[in-house]
Symmetry: C2
Subunit: 123 residues, 2 copies
DNA sequence: TTGACGCATGCCGTTATGGGTATATGATCG
DNA sequence: CGATCATATACCCATAACGGCATGCGTCAA
């Protein structure tokens, strides 16, 4: 749909195009958490999250389009289930920074040395 | 700044208020990756990412406001360095789904059983 | 078939976002 | 001080994002 045929202006990449963008929304993250407990129909999710049914549907659509959830028709309702495989890249990407938040750098740069020397490791 | 005192309309939480939102932007993720190699001045980052200096500055601002980078004055320039601690929650959040993408559920719901039975584990 | 239910979509309104260009601010140097 | 480099900001523009409401559509029950 968004063909990125802009002249010079562009806003943001569509949230439906990237898992990182999809999970940028707190409520969508909430949905994913809820779905860890199992499938759920839309209305139930909407209730649990305190949002309207259309609201839930829209978020679910985004999650579906990036592949984080799957839907299955179950009679009158539609059950949404988790497909967390798409979260693995996120986990790995963030994991790539692990040594940095542990502050055990194998390569200290001036910035860090500054911290240790000046502030005695504090903060 | 955003006090969320809307009447009935609201868009999305400001990107500067949430790490998940801050890293939703591909170029900002790129910046973080680059900074793993050490501090860098703005212009250098801009070059490496193929964006304008103001562009880089804006992204750095966002990253700074969510605490993912620190800046340090170095004479004429301003060196930006990584502070990856804020990425830990992201890593942990995504990690909370690990057993799901491994598909070794301790609690199979109808959805999953459906998959295994119907599609013989395929897909 | 007619309702009622469950969900998706469409439309509207407001804000956030991201990029560009021009410009203000800061610091350094001659 | 004046010129210059390094950044940050201020606008402006176009568009994506979110929420609310109304509505369309498929399904199931009476």
């Amino acid at each position: 749909m968004p063909l990125w045929v802009y002249d010079r202006l562009m806003a943001r990449a569509a949230t439906t195009s990237d898992v990182f963008n999809a999970i940028a929304e707190p409520q969508r993250r909430e949905i994913l958490v809820l779905l860890r407990a199992g499938e759920r129909p839309v209305t139930e999710l909407a209730q649990e999250l305190g949002m309207t049914q259309p609201g839930a549907s829209k978020h679910l659509r985004v999650l579906r389009e990036v592949g984080l959830v799957r839907d299955r028709k179950a009679g009158k309702q539609r059950l949404y289930g988790l497909d967390a495989r798409g979260l693995r890249p996120v986990h790995e990407w963030a994991g790539g920074f692990e040594r940095f938040w542990n502050e055990s750098f194998d390569r200290l740069d001036a910035y860090v040395q500054d911290l240790k020397a000046g502030k005695a490791g504090k903060e």
